[in-house]
């Protein structure tokens, strides 16, 4: 965490818009990345990113300056995404996601897009698993920080990350991705 975040927050609380803009610019990538991974939809991610920042700026006085700012902010973003996902469950899943079937195309090797396969596999994970895994690997947060974001014990976060890895790996294996890439991925 940058050391001057508490000072930035103090300026924000005094109504300094330049400080607000600086705070947004500093964390926009991480907040948007989390929202995008959680929602898998760009427009929704943009909306939730904006909502998260608005909420955070309006409730900055509730942030405890003795704690890290980033987990606090990401927790707000995560909550917004969960709320949206909960409302999404009431409507059919959006199209654009590939059916969960093995891909047996002969030209599979040429068209293999690992990033896309991982993104697809992520979309099948439970929300908690996906969020924990993304926070750990993509946002590079530690388990303690993730626990703060998700408001649950560290042990639970570890379990979620481990299960997410396993489910993701199983999905990739069923999709035939691992056979294609095994020769290229020999070590961790």
């Amino acid at each position: 965490m940058p050391d001057d975040v508490p000072e930035l927050v103090r300026r924000c609380l005094s109504g300094d818009e330049a400080a607000m803009a600086e705070l947004i610019d500093r964390f926009r990538g991480q907040v948007f990345g989390l929202c995008y991974r959680m929602l898998g939809h760009r427009q929704d991610a943009e909306d939730m990113t904006q909502e998260a920042f608005v909420r955070a700026l309006r409730s900055l006085n509730r942030w405890d300056s003795r704690r890290e700012f980033r987990p606090w902010l990401l927790a707000i973003a995560g909550n917004r995404c969960r709320t949206l996902l909960a409302s999404r469950r009431k409507v059919p899943r959006p199209t654009g996601e590939v059916d969960y079937l093995p891909d047996a195309r002969p030209d599979r090797q040429q068209q293999l897009n690992l990033a896309e396969e991982v993104r697809l596999a992520l979309s099948y994970l439970r929300e908690e698993y996906r969020q924990a895994l993304v926070l750990f690997h993509e946002q590079q947060l530690g388990y303690a920080e993730i626990a703060e974001v998700l408001d649950c014990p560290v042990g639970t976060v570890k379990t979620w990350v481990h299960r997410a890895r396993r489910e993701l790996a199983d999905h990739l294996r069923r999709r035939g991705v691992l056979e294609e890439t095994d020769h290229a991925v020999r070590r961790i």
């Binding site: 607000m20 947004i24 990538g29 948007f32 904006q50 920042f53 890895r165 790996a169 095994d182």
Partner: protein, 215 residues
Amino acid sequence: MQCEEFEVQLNEALDRRSPLTAVEALAHQRACPDCRQRASAYGLIARELAQASLPAAPQDLTECVLAEVRRPATLRFSPRRRAALVLAAAATLLVAVVGVRLMGRGDIGPAAAQQVAGKSEKPVAKRRRAPSPQQGVNAPSDRVAVAPKQSEPKPASEIVPSISDTAALPAAEWAQQVADGLQPVTRPTLGAATGFLQVWGLGQKRPPAAQGPRS
């Protein structure tokens, strides 16, 4: 080493963000195709996520957020909550009207309760009786008579003419009589309910020159 133990060590290595170095685990990985594939998959996932090229946040994010923050907080309700509020207001209005009517008629009590529940026909018969001159003053349940004089209580038969008494009247005229009889008690209630709906149910924006319900 068993496969389960291998997976535990593999996860621990990834949790430390460091490569798997335990000799025993590496030996197992070489010997076990499933675990080798698992290790490959976990490594692939970690690498892909760490190097993921996500779309950039929108350029106008900062401006949009600041514009939203500048805007004063207003009451915003979802359509479902708005519908619930309107229903609640309607129910409150109904209860208020029925209650005031019963009070005006002096029918409060078990019999009135039965009447409201639709379990007794007697109150209907009572309603048909023409009021005696004393009934308006000395009736045992004449509670409204003690109320401020500004709205003189009317006997029930004046407020709601029974259908049998007015069978000969055209429907519109009968409805007008009912409305005239109810006006003194319904007007303030309706006014209050309308104000409530304007502020809460339809309250996307605050009414001018009012602080709104959040005081």
